[in-house]
Symmetry: C2
Subunit: 160 residues, 2 copies
């Protein structure tokens, strides 16, 4: 009996283990599962068991969130992964590739904003007619109601 265990790598992880390893709360895992972002099998006692796969998925989800992609869209992307088999490197690479552009676009946007801010600090203006910063921000108003698109940023109590 002791001979069967020593080198057995745990194939399935409990929700608590996944939480500990991924750094997300158990409740968040439940939530992600409800949203179809991750999957699990159940033990005879109805407890969740995750394949190691899930860690990569979660990593992907958090990374995508950091890029500013809403969960719904992340879920849609994940669902394009070839079901059945474990995703390969290529699968992941394909998934991420499209998002690089978005990241770049966001960076460009922020860069413009910063440039504008640099100008504006010089002139102290923020004048409605001419200020680039104002105009940059103003385009947001064109979007509809509700919180348009949220990005999680690292700005804790420690201050960015």
């Amino acid at each position: 009996m002791s001979a069967t265990k020593p080198f057995q790598i745990k194939a399935l992880l409990s929700v608590g283990e996944v939480a500990a390893r991924s750094g997300v709360a158990v409740s968040t895992l439940h939530f992600y599962e409800a949203r179809g972002l991750i999957e699990s099998v159940r033990t005879s006692g109805n407890q969740r068991r995750y394949g190691r796969d899930v860690l990569r998925r979660i990593a992907f989800i958090r990374a995508a969130q950091a890029v500013g992609i809403p969960l719904a869209e992340i879920g849609a992307a994940l669902n394009t992964l070839p079901g059945g088999r474990t995703p390969t490197r290529d699968d992941w690479a394909q998934l991420s590739a499209g998002w690089r552009e978005r990241l770049e676009a966001r960076i460009r946007h922020l860069q413009q904003l910063k440039d504008a801010l640099d100008d504006c600090i010089g002139c102290g203006c923020l004048s409605l007619a001419t200020c680039r910063l104002h105009n940059a921000g103003d385009r947001l108003a064109a979007l509809g109601p509700g919180p348009h698109r949220a990005v999680h940023v690292m700005t804790g109590p420690d201050g960015a």
Copy 2:
């Protein structure tokens, strides 16, 4: 009588006028007022009237939001403006100056993420132990509950 009007610049703006000029909805102006971000005086008929000042404040608010600063904090900053007199260029400049750093920090963060993503697309990894992208995203988990900090980005139906 006709001689008194021709060159009279409207000193006070109605809520509708402010909305039209600033590009924000009337309901948003109400909302901002409730949050203490802007102020108004009332006519005898209880209607709001805004000084032209408010346009600059709104421009500032939208710009700050674009930088990723939550309304509460924007309000706090605005309240440090010397009350009573109309804010000067310098007042505004001082206010914006601190936010430049935050913008820069955010840009740096995104840039790191992009670099990591570039690496990761190469290797297709997202491995928990080693992947820089994952680790970058993972730190988000350290923040408390709720929506940590939202940034409005320009990603309408057009895709941006």
